[in-house]
Symmetry: C2
Subunit: 544 residues, 2 copies
Amino acid sequence: MKGGILFVYDNKEMLQRQEPHSLPYPDLETYTVDMSHILALITDGPTKTYCHRRLNFLESKFSLHEMLNEMSEFKELKSNPHRDFYNVRKVDTHIHAAACMNQKHLLRFIQHTYQTEPDRTVAEKRGQKVTLRQVFSSLHMDPYDLTVDSLDVHADRQTFHRFDKFNSKYNPMGASELRDLYLKTENYLGGEYFARMVKEVAQELEESKYQYSEPRLSIYGRSPEEWQSLARWFIQHQVYSPNMRWVIQVPRIYDIFRAKKLLPNFGRMLENIFLPLFKATINPQDHRELHLFLKYVTGFDSVDDESKHSDHMFSDKSPSPDDWTSEQNPPYSYYLYYMYANIMVLNNLRRERGLSTFLFRPHCGEAGSITHLVSAFLTADNISHGLLLKKSPVLQYLYYLAQIPIAMSPLSNNSLFLEYSKNPLREFLHKGLHVSLSTDDPMQFHYTKEALMEEYAIAAQVWKLSTCDLCEIARNSVLQSGLSHQEKQRFLGENYYKEGPEGNDIRRTNVAQIRMAFRHETLCNELSFLSDALKSEEITAPDN
Amino acid sequence: MKGGILFVYDNKEMLQRQEPHSLPYPDLETYTVDMSHILALITDGPTKTYCHRRLNFLESKFSLHEMLNEMSEFKELKSNPHRDFYNVRKVDTHIHAAACMNQKHLLRFIQHTYQTEPDRTVAEKRGQKVTLRQVFSSLHMDPYDLTVDSLDVHADRQTFHRFDKFNSKYNPMGASELRDLYLKTENYLGGEYFARMVKEVAQELEESKYQYSEPRLSIYGRSPEEWQSLARWFIQHQVYSPNMRWVIQVPRIYDIFRAKKLLPNFGRMLENIFLPLFKATINPQDHRELHLFLKYVTGFDSVDDESKHSDHMFSDKSPSPDDWTSEQNPPYSYYLYYMYANIMVLNNLRRERGLSTFLFRPHCGEAGSITHLVSAFLTADNISHGLLLKKSPVLQYLYYLAQIPIAMSPLSNNSLFLEYSKNPLREFLHKGLHVSLSTDDPMQFHYTKEALMEEYAIAAQVWKLSTCDLCEIARNSVLQSGLSHQEKQRFLGENYYKEGPEGNDIRRTNVAQIRMAFRHETLCNELSFLSDALKSEEITAPDN
């Protein structure tokens, strides 16, 4: 590792000569230059006006489309045999594994374990073995009397704009013992309980047949052993499901580990996260479990409370990760760049060797500064949330033009950052941004057994979405997911990767061709409008 | 029958002397006088101001209560063992049997019948027997290809303020043949398919254990045989479930029958509706099936599009039902009075004989004139919808003071009459009106398998209701339902009929005693405030 980025050398000699294997990645300078360019762009008055107008135009255009073609769209869907909203494929594009079961499910599971194996040793405390019965008696609670109220994992009015309170909701009954026991992969039981619950959720998905999900599992970067242990958990408990694809989330909590002196500098954190992956890629036979696990991992996520402010302004003068020894947390843009650069090097290496590659799908624009959306624009394959695009017409228009996918979770936002009725999802969808619906944390936010359906149902009811709207969102969710090329062909149509109606097989997606044509024409129109303007140089230069 | 009301004579002699058995009921004059009194009251300026202020006060008082006691309420619930929102009893207080399954359920059922018995004779057309296969081939449809889109029973944007379009959604694929075959109790199969579907819905309720429902079955008053046929359907197919209580809905469509010359006058319609009930009450042994069926019927409902205007103004000069021979439909108030009077006579008769009695629970205040709410205030045990109370502070205050229960269906309203965010349910709940949540028509409005939970979930999410709010609504729903005294004791507590915290067993209802105390004190306060004012005669007389 050098300057926070891993390099691979073909042999020792090359290492001595400092000639790494060529695995291209964008260098720091390119990133910071691009970033300041876009930062200038988004604050430029004329550009803002221009983008604002184009977005308004897009919205009005859709309204017009709706008025004129709503009935024709529905007619198309009615005459489409066998396929309706219920049997089109939907992917829950953003969900955390530790909260993928609903509160009632968790409650039942806890009660079930207590009924069936109260005398099992489930933990060790200061050398003493502790049984399940002892865990609960130390909490003064009989699991029979346990309720979702006393479990207290559901977000409520107290959590609005309080991410800290929300985070503590991950502890059932406010007790971190229970979180460790039931919601972690590393504990005395080797994460058995958590694995069983995740598998129950997977079972339900498989039964539903048309629902898929992409749960996030955490790698913290505290130690290089984390990967090995996570992979072992996954394989030992066979936490595999055809209806699940895994994403690794890296919490941005270097500052906490640094304060506890678990890490000397930020570079070490990156090394802990990425070095094991390079090793497993280069020598799969020495890292069988990890190698196998990585087959089911489709991407990386970067998570934490975005509303936390950082003093540091990332530039090419910022300390390199190895020199980042302060207790301060690096800013969002810093995290994103180094994760992205390493993932890119890794992907290039894996591609050379015919292995699967990873997408970068950070949380972005849930709260905090809109500059996060600039970093993600430069690095991410798709993002989760994207709420704050609402506040920047330039960025919103850029995300539209580039069709960067956005996994939105309006029910989660409703509990944490933005009231449901003010959520921009409907507006984004109308304008043609590439949005999908996701649950984020069913344990905290949802009431029914089918969290993803609850999410769709509420959006449909509150925003009066048509069947075609719903199926368009579902199609987007498959497109932006980590499902394989073959699966996407099966779920969306042979030519799903083509643009416009050509890429849509209505018999599988139940999205009207009229809608697809409208979206395609509109996007082409915007792009050609821009390129024409560039040609004739009539466009107001952004640096004016 | 005389003047639209049934009289019972002890023997022939009494009949000759025109001395009926004494079964008190409110006479027409009382009704019309009371009605005009309230009509004057609701338009009186000072009364309006007074009520408006009191209602504002009630709302602010609740906000204050919430700010001060929210955490204490939740603490109470957390320490309440074994009971949470999921295992408190909830009753779906307003649901139509013909739409009690969701659209996906109906679709699957249709496909299932076609797969298992395509060659069964299911209808007779002009003397010719028709098989299921023939039904579908005449519609040019293979049920395998059928989708919820082609079924087209779901309400959508086209139905907003179009009750007529909504009504036609009861026809799967727009085909009345399918409605007759699958959603009716009278057809070639004796309503077997409908019975099977209703029983499947009941099965799901029984499995959920904590959910109950009160589906409406129709009696039209076209002919006196309807009751017999409905009772036979019920008994033959054993459409009984411990989790269902039945309500009879009478559509207000005299004008349609009259135009088709099926009825000579309105009096005959009333006779067709009520005479069979009197007969079955007096001679149960001659009407075994009906007598048995009536044990499971707990009330009457009056239904139709309230937004239809009527020219006639009901007064004591209106023609009596026997003389109502015109093709015009009688107004809402007329229907309500005559149903109410007959139900009351019938109840008095049944009470004398130790038989069950019926509640009167009309649809009211969904749309149309607010005078409907006046009629219902004078006659109804509880009402469905009550949306328009929003428009009349006086009526709203009266419904509050009298604690007349209101079964609200915001998702239904959202599709038909009022956007979700504008629905007054939250406001009514805060002020202390006796509201419950109900689904109305899961087939048309809901997306998930658990329609009632979907209703609660959306209300909770959109309005950020607390657990205590949800459990209060659930408690209200049991209270206002037709469940028996014993069941209510089991679900709400021994003394559920008492007012205030005394009547609440938190171990069964999960409603905080702090909340109960607040509601009780507030209501007592309003009442004593009024009576004090009356005593000191300081109140502005409403006829000023």
